[in-house]
Symmetry: D3
Subunit: 339 residues, 6 copies
């Protein structure tokens, strides 16, 4: 496929307690490389796209290892800057049944958070790019990253690349500094061709509340308002998640297309979830795969839903299955051992 | 909270096959520290209570390690005697689906079982105690421990502390010596302010059968008889467990209060159980937390049920989650990742 | 029990990714010894039968280790030849939910596949045998093994032993050489007293299609045709498997008896499957245990179904539980911890 | 080779802390099957001998697993009785440098220790035996095992088999009951054709002290006295061990032959020891291999020394390398990777 | 023993690559709890002293776990404050041969580093204290901790407790802020009764250079100058370390006593080092054990040297062996397995 | 650095027993990616060179994973063809002390061995190449790879790139087909500018014997003859290895330069070796780093020796340390913990 996808965001290490243990009950942590945008990059690379990650890693053994892991997944990591500072970490406890999983962030003052916006050479980083992917986590980290995200989005549009923005609103991160999420996120929505956002995310940005009717109705109303507010925006998609227990969810999906109505994927039952982290990122990557590859919108949404579902059954932050394996779920292939 | 809870019983090592393996199919055993009373102690400590464990451990590396583990959990272990002898062990195989889990006891002739009743200085051990917790496992281990349990209960009442007795009837243990369970357990029920027991446990002690009606009716009848027989007894509680499979249970709860009727908690569905051991102990600790903390009886029972449920989703013998995490289940908080 | 069971087939090593990981995401492979016929042997040994495995292993550390593992299970492995060559391997990825498990065979040109038919001394290998067990995998591996399987079956009948043949048709294996599966498998069906085969297996061998009616009707029709075509054949059995997800199946069972109609076991729900590999082999072993031990046909089938179900809850390729544990499932014993 | 070797003794489980950790610092124990006589059996089986182990194991999952492990090693375990009781255990901490390794026995009241001497049918157990191997650990365990060991030795001689006795004096075990080690061990020495013992062991049995001169002189004097006292005794061998540190030893070897003087093997330097347990048992097995196979005495001793040395570089209690690998050390083969 | 020892400093988590791997070559980190002062506390607790740790931990799962680990070791952790912030971490790679081990600090802006000096209630924390132990790492972390260390030392002297100060100069830590190490460390030396420091540490503080003669002469000269400069100082001790390779060192020890000359322990050879971290802390604890327990100075130094040596053979940051095990090395006990 | 290094050879998986275990004593294999040429590529990439690997991998999960691992190390793997077939494997047992390590090859009929010589597009694969690296293992695998190696070497010279050839003679591999090693290796020597070979390798190719004098004299004589026979050859280097035990070697190094004499590096003592595999490949990479970077010959040899030594202290097949870490050993930096 021609043209590469550039994902800009923080690459993190997940340090998790083994199995379903609480942290440090065993003297060991399992390590995964993650980060919302890196997860999207990994899935798109597994789907056969040319993908690069832009950002900043600490110039130490942890940063080097994270960069190597992205390369292992077939991602172009040459645009990742190495700078003094610390690695962004998060500690993770895998819940079960009625005990929720927990994230303990330890990412403050990371090399990424401290990198000056001017340290990124966007024309060079975006050369040959057909799409820039960003998420709302990056601007939530502080003034540096909020500015860098906006710079990146503007540079992408200037270079003729599409912009995809995944809202990913996390109140706890925004609370750590004095940035105004509504204004900053609005600035990013203004650049986006594709947005991943539900009615709450859109409501936050538009200063509106969309709570009439069922999930589909709320989303349709919010999407309509977003299309009105952001003229360049063409598609908005989100998942619809319901929890029967910590490891048994149902995952539906919605996509609104400008002048094209709302596509709906009925929920898929997910019992015995293996690793819920990155489900939304895999969904986004699946939808992007469809959109970039010229699939029709309904097919793109279904591919995204299947990608999202499959991520729940793979350990680690990113989906690394190929197109055929995702398509098999869309197509309803049998579930017995493949020999 | 003022006044400490003293738990008297045997601290055991659980040696379990990894994952769902049979014993010794892999050349490795996973180790947990357990024992019904220590489990109650651990949960109460996690709930913020001052807790001490009384008993006897072997004066060797295993006994020292078990004592250290109790301390790690915030339990006062200074009252645990160290004596010659062996550590009580049990080997454990975690079942799944239609294959039951199995306990293989190797606790005969342990330092605890052999400790002379006179070796315990109850006035000292019970100083500042507001409650003594005992279980029916201790008297089942032999004449020494049967006597020690009775001594402890009497000393507690003499010192003005309440006594809690968890029936925990295990026929296999009683079969190993010539003690009369009915008489011995009756002696302990006579001291108890709170008992954990179902209609079968009560029936055994009273020499009656309570099998008319459904679970609630049988329990109500048995509780009524128990209140009649044991004038100091104020509360009796039990769980109501149904198994759909080895790792899918339903857990309800009942509590009879003297002159207060029977409180009922509707069953909670528990699919994908992680570790069923200690579920009853966590229930008991949860109820005790409510009772000691002045919660009303219905709330205490609900807290106990939630504690019992959560234990099924945590590896190891003891629940080590805090009050907030248990209360969140009572309150029906959402089950997605806590970030 | 008098008379031994001889199982002839390839002993394989399973190299599997840990937990639910993809291959080589962690730098480690878990190892199990397997192979359809060895699995049947292991289960029969666990049920208390005298069992021997015949075949060929490479004369190197891997072959020696596989032989040792069979011995550990109580199988007589003295008849396994050691010869130059390589060990048959398969790499395995354990799926979950909507992500299927995958087998990657690496068994071509193994010592077993290359062993000359004349290298087996069947009269010696079958001494004291009451039954020879074979599967359709062996003839699928090439001309050598196809001939050896036929030799073995004929020698067994000549020696007065019964022959059991498990169809186990695997198109991918047959595709690797120019053997005619229909003719070769027919040759083996002609020797069999007991066959494990469903309506598709029988249809393949007879060149017919049995697709009228439900599973039971199709099986009855196919079995009738097989009894007509193969006069020595007395029993045909198969499982009926339905998948709700990769780790949630339903397993029913059918057995047709010459002049005895079709016995049916209602499906057993299997949620939270631990290891699906070898489920069919455990079923076959269970049925054979019943037949060899003089149980009536319905009881044999139920024992086989229970054995098959239990294998899904035990890691590894073979069921190694005893008769009492299988019978407990048939009898519907309770599913709580056995203490 | 014709005629089997029967080893009589307790089969134990070693539960050891991983790596160089102290016990229970990590929640895991590594498991090995051991026991002095089983170790000799395992090595002889690896050297190609027909070997059986006699003794008693508990009829539970642990006993079954230990039996399976012996079978895996090619040992005939059909003569091992299964009886009620517990498994003999020992906990192990692997030292390093200046921190000694430690054994914590938990073998009291095991099924083996409690087995009645009359429970062994020696004529059956010793059928086809060319040699019975015993150690001084067995009589140290109590009156039952002391009697059984003597019964076995007498039955072996009555059946025309040779008797090998490895002194293995452990004061701590003898201290646990009122047996007289001198009298009991003397009774066993009286039956032995081959003894493994140093000048202290011999001195203990004979009530003499042999401390004049260097190690070789003391051994020669003691051996001379032993040959005088025990007319049937033909060979006495021992290792000479010096410790530079916990994991750096030097191992020499001595063998006295009646009317044949003392053979001496110069010490072999052992730096970086992996697992010291079972070194003496491997030495004994190596010497027995030479003696049973008709090697001359010097060659037998050198083979024993090499077997003993190699055990130090293999994890677990038993040496499981073949004759060629031991002989390669005797022959001084190169130490680079074998490809 | 009467009176407790209070250790004030940062409790850290060590996250280390397994075995001799580089960081993140395997997706796993091994975790130990460390920190120079906590290591001293752990060793003193293992030697039987009453020990408390003062400091600040983050009020999250990591801080709670670290506190629990100290409690497991028998340390009084009730004086450890819990505060918002992050856990101090360090990543560790264990070298071998010619490849050095590496520490990657990630401790900036930890809850300990940010804790206000006024947050410590020294009179309460030092109640019943006979000795306060501090190290030069604490003041190196920033102005807060430099002030807190000085406050603690002054409060200790005011309360009549002795002060022990371990120089532990780390240029890299001091370089991260504008504190003047010479002045700050001098302030702490002025409070110390016992100091652990070599001629370079003393030279740094006094602004002198002591490089004439051999190690002992340099140390004697520096100690003399220190005694002159710091009138309350009574003892100065240090190790003398030489490296043959990364895992083969030699460790000697020196102690100067005011008006008492210099005691010297000849170097002990340490081949095959298991874990070098904490060697100096164990030495300090060993010397303190001697001094606090009234051993003579030569014996205290020898005990300290043995403690330091033994730490190199135990995984983790702290020595947790008892007095008998350390004394055994001083006494030259044999190095074979203790059974 | 300008111009890339292309390494052509088979990428293998090493499947090794954990720790010092024998194969399959634990049900687990540790996995590393290796292969002589890939090891050189990995080290050069770690030294900062642009490096590509050419060859053929199976188009399955194993081949994909191996390719990902090379990418993780910063190697350009886009030139690696994916083709049907199997992955080359080798099983590995890590020896210790007097027990040698062992390689069990399972690489016959791999996708690499079966790839047609014409399948490689050398002009494309060698674009921008400044050096092609080959080893004698590739031609030993069969006629296909022998031809492909020769094609590659000729194409490299035609494209103006230098050729480096590492003899790596393995008699066992050559024995598996009828190729004439002398003629084939001679063909490759004829293309080489740099050769890694000792006096035996050169003697084999030239049909001569060089055994007069010590190691240096033999090497000098052989190198002189090689320079005479191969006019394009400019440098020949080799290590000189002596074994004190399996994990204690001494490693010296020699390099002969046309018209420049023989450079000698004195042996470095290597006690406590961690992983000896790939030591020669790291040496070759180190020498190439020096030669490509314009270091003088003595410095290049010293860098190569240090690289070779350091590989012995790093788990896995390849050295992945940077230039600074290798240079530190050349420079004799201190060996204590780097903080």
């Amino acid at each position: 496929m021609t043209g590469k996808v550039v994902c800009f965001g923080e690459v993190l290490l997940r340090l998790s307690a083994p199995g379903h243990e609480l942290l440090l009950r065993q003297p060991r942590l399992d390590v995964h490389v993650g980060g919302a945008e890196a997860n999207v990059a990994a899935a798109l690379a597994a789907f056969g796209h040319r993908v690069a990650v832009a950002g900043t890693l600490p110039d130490n053994a942890l940063g080097h290892a994270a960069r190597g892991e992205l390369r292992r997944l077939g991602i172009d990591a040459d645009g990742l800057a190495l700078a003094p500072g610390r690695m962004g970490l998060y500690f993770y406890t895998t819940g079960a049944g009625h005990r929720p999983s927990e994230v303990l962030y330890d990412r403050a003052a990371s090399a990424f958070a401290l990198a000056a916006p001017a340290s990124y050479n966007w024309p060079a980083l975006l050369a040959e790019a057909r799409l820039l992917h960003l998420s709302g986590i990056t601007p939530a980290l502080g003034a540096n990253t909020a500015q860098a995200a906006l710079d990146a989005a503007r540079a992408a549009r200037a270079a003729g690349a599409r912009v995809c923005f995944d809202g990913n609103f996390r109140a706890k991160l925004w609370a750590a500094w004095d940035g105004d999420p509504r204004a900053i996120l609005r600035g990013l929505f203004e650049q986006a061709d594709i947005a991943f956002a539900d009615h709450r995310d859109i409501g936050l940005v538009l200063g509106q509340v969309f709570d009439d009717g069922d999930a589909q109705a709320r989303f349709a109303a919010a999407a309509g308002a977003a299309f009105a507010a952001f003229p360049q925006l063409r598609r908005i998609a989100c998942t619809v998640r319901a929890q029967a227990s910590v490891d048994h969810h149902r995952l539906g999906a919605l996509m609104a297309v400008r002048d094209g109505g709302v596509h709906v994927c009925a929920p898929i039952e997910m019992a015995g979830i293996v690793d819920r982290i990155g489900g939304g990122d895999a969904f986004a990557a699946g939808v992007l795969h469809g959109v970039l590859g010229g699939m029709d919108d309904a097919a793109s949404l279904a591919f995204g839903q299947a990608a999202g579902v499959l991520k729940h059954y793979l350990p680690g932050d990113a989906l690394t299955l190929g197109v055929a394996e995702v398509q098999a779920l869309v197509d309803g292939e049998r579930l017995d051992v493949r020999r």
